[in-house]
Amino acid sequence: MRAEDFLSAIKKIKAEALASIKDSGSPEELANMRHRFLGRKSELTAILRKLGELSADQRPGVGKEANVAREAVEEAFAKKQEGLDKGHLEKRLQEEAADITLPGRRPRVGRKHILTRVVEEIIDIFLGLGFRIAEGPEVELDYYNFEALNIPKDHPARSLQDTLYVASNGDDVLLRTHTSPVQIRVMEEEQPPLHIIAPGKVYRRDVADPTHSPMFHQVEGFAVDSDISFGDLKGTLECFVLNMFGEERQVRFRPHYFAFTEPSAEVDVSCGHCDARGCRACGGKGWLEILGAGMIDPNVLKEVGYDPEEHVGFAFGMGVERIAMLKYGLKDLRLFFENDLRFLEQF
């Protein structure tokens, strides 16, 4: 073949290829064309192989032309490919457009009971304050529940009607009426310094109604060291209350009486609706009672073999349900133990 023939063949192939590329409608067709025009068995490749037939002075010119044509075709392919890809993607995007108002497929995950979450929240705050967790039995000896806590038999604070006793054991075994026995059990076993909280179930001989329950939850806390003061009790509980209910709340301590602490206090948090001014939510009082607390009575310390001159301590107790009710505006204690799914779902 002559150089002119080569050149015209190249021109023809190029034109043909560009036209075919232009007409290709799908990525598959384009791939076929690519094979046909640029593959190992394509005309252009064949021509390049035959360049050897040309004379040395003709070869560069034709070779260059062939390469230019090849590059042009490559470029056209790339362009077309891009266009096709884009079109294809657009089509796919269009086809796959979903009604995004349809519901998502939700994972089936469970939920913690609201009381567990409140207890955990309380625990977290006290862990942060350096307290540890201790536990004790729910069926308890009279000694730990009353006697050792400075509540002897015939003490007015110990009304028989409030306590559930276990049968066939006389008066000695009962369902603990508070989590305070854990205080005694820990102090019997360990030496100060102690910084402990004890969450758990407690029981009272009460018929279930919106404000009473035969079973409920308390968190007890106490600290014993050589230099614990009422000021430390205040600081610890203020820290707790503000963490639990919000920094904007106020805390107040009112003198009260408990057999196992002295001085004793009840702790109130300001009503979240009226900022202690008094409104319907707080029954006009402005304050909501949430904790009982005080300095551990020397008799209690003596009972476990501590020397009250050497060690002092504070203790406090709170009702978990009460805190949950205040926090979430619940009015009926029974809901916690009914386990209606619609209730559990809300928290």
Binding site: V109, F126, V139, F230, G231, K234, R254, P263, N339
Partner: protein
Amino acid sequence: MLLSLDWLQEYVDVDIGAEELADKMSLTGTEVESIQRIGTPGQEDVVLHLEITPNRPDCMGVIGMARETGAFLQKKIKKPMVRSREINVPVSQSVKVKVADRELCPRYAARVLRNIKVSESPDWMKKRLEAIGVRSVNNVVDITNYVMLESGQPLHAFDMDRLVGDAIEVRRAAPEEKIIAIDGIERALNSEMLVIADGQGPVAIAGVMGGANSEVSGETKTILLESANFDPTSVLKTSRQLGLISESSLRFERGVDIGGTLWALDRAAELVRELASGEVLKGHIDVFQEPPKQRQILLRSARVNKILGTELTGEEIGDVLGRLGLGVSLQSPAQASNPELMIQIPSFRVDLEREIDVIEEVARLYGYDRIEATLPASRQRQGLLTRRQKSEGMIKELLIAAGLWETINFSFLDDSELDSLGYAKDSPEKRLVELRNPITSEQSKMRSSLIPGLIRTINVNVARSLSELRIFEMGRVFHPERGRTLPIERLVAAGALTGRTERGLGRQEESWDFFDAKGVVEFLLGRLGIESASFERSQGLPYHEGRCARVVIGEKILGRVGELHPEVQSKMELPNRVALFELDIDALIEALPPTGSFAELSRYPTVSVDLAVVVDEDVASGKVEEVIRGQAGDLLERLVIFDLYTGAPVPKGRKSLAYSLTFRAPDRTLDWAEVETVRDEIVRELESKLQAGLRI
């Protein structure tokens, strides 16, 4: 206790509004529960509803509250002066009093008044009584009530002419003695109870209530006015045993001021003289051997400041206590920085016995709000959970991740629930911790299993059209143990899955059954890293005998998984099958592996093959898996059963099981031939061990 502001004003000048007064009372230890405005224009009064703590019997009278009010308002109180205008007839001629039990009656004082005219009380007295909810009866009875409400000292008036004989005795009741109290109800007494008796028998239950036989009436001419001091514990017991609580018993059970006996008696006698024109016989009867010594308590300022976290001076402390009517004298040199003080306790403060009691008074009056809030010294302590506490929390989290909702049920149950569930007589669940004084039979035992509570929860929800439930509870169960005073408390996690998921777009309905409960347990064990646990067929109600397994590690039982027996299900009116599991938390935690070490990840690709085998129907899939794993060795990365089929073309009595096996080597790319070889070996092993055939 109700307190009339108008009445209070008689003893102390209250120059602040009712709300502010109530706030101050609350912040010094007398909680004001409500404030009520009563009366007519020009005659308004405010009634405060007070919560008097059990240690403060002295506040159970208007004068006591006046003292408190005076202390925080820094005002002097005006206690009425009592003058006794007596006639010249000695009381000792008219009646003799014998106190047989000095322990239960440390003091018995009385006066006799004659020629009295019982009639209505004057309006001012009626108004005061009615303001705080006390019904007016007649002037004599009203006076005893009035003086009690004023001073805190209960009083009683006997109609002397109705007493038999001329002597009364304070003694324990004789066995089988009875009394009709002024409420008209006859009560049997016992020898633990103290009574006032005349020549015939009891005329009053000491400190609790008078008898109808000697009650003051319109005809009464002569009265014996009693002002006594009874033992608090004795009055408490008697009142509880008789189910009879009175204003009098409420005061005596907390402790009445033994130094105030005569003041109240004279005050009442004077009022009877004035308002019922009585003549007061000369002198008191006062059976009272030793006058109590005035209590003194040493108070160390250093101790006050240590306990409270304050820096109060001896002077500040003395000032606070002085306001409460306590005597204070300095024991240390005047300049001492933390002086010691000797505190004289007046008789009405029966609660102040120890230094700490006085420290509380300092704190209370100084003001809790003025004590600076601090935090305990750190001592390098850390707030950490124990491994066990963390594990418990993790188990809960995993059950929630497995799709279960946590419930909390009462720790009680009733035998009938266990009967309905069909537990065998000798099952551990039937051995129960019983309550002596339960409120209802449904709450008469401590639970021995969490299952009854879960079933209760299902029933509650089903009744409210919520029939698909995936729930669990983690809580204690109780078992009595011979030789132990306290029962064994075991922490258990139990779950229940029942019902059908709701239909949803692009989602199949699922009915929960045995394999869902088992799956939860497998998931939990897997995540906890407990690999050695296996499932063994198990039986026994309340479980379905064909769908129940024990979860075991060797000999140790971790728990059970199973469906509720269909008969139990229908007996308990449950609409759907219930898949349950119970796991012992202690056993789980004991089985927890030590922290595992990292296994290198292979960088080479996997090769997967499917294997469908036909075995006899009674060959357990677990057995087939065991053979496959045993033969495949370490190259087998994953084994999943994806089909279980019976019916043509699989011969009768046989079943087809299809598994997908994924192989991977740690150090090379597996070639197909190698995997084929392993597969062929597995097939041969299945053929020889389980008479399995290959299904193509």
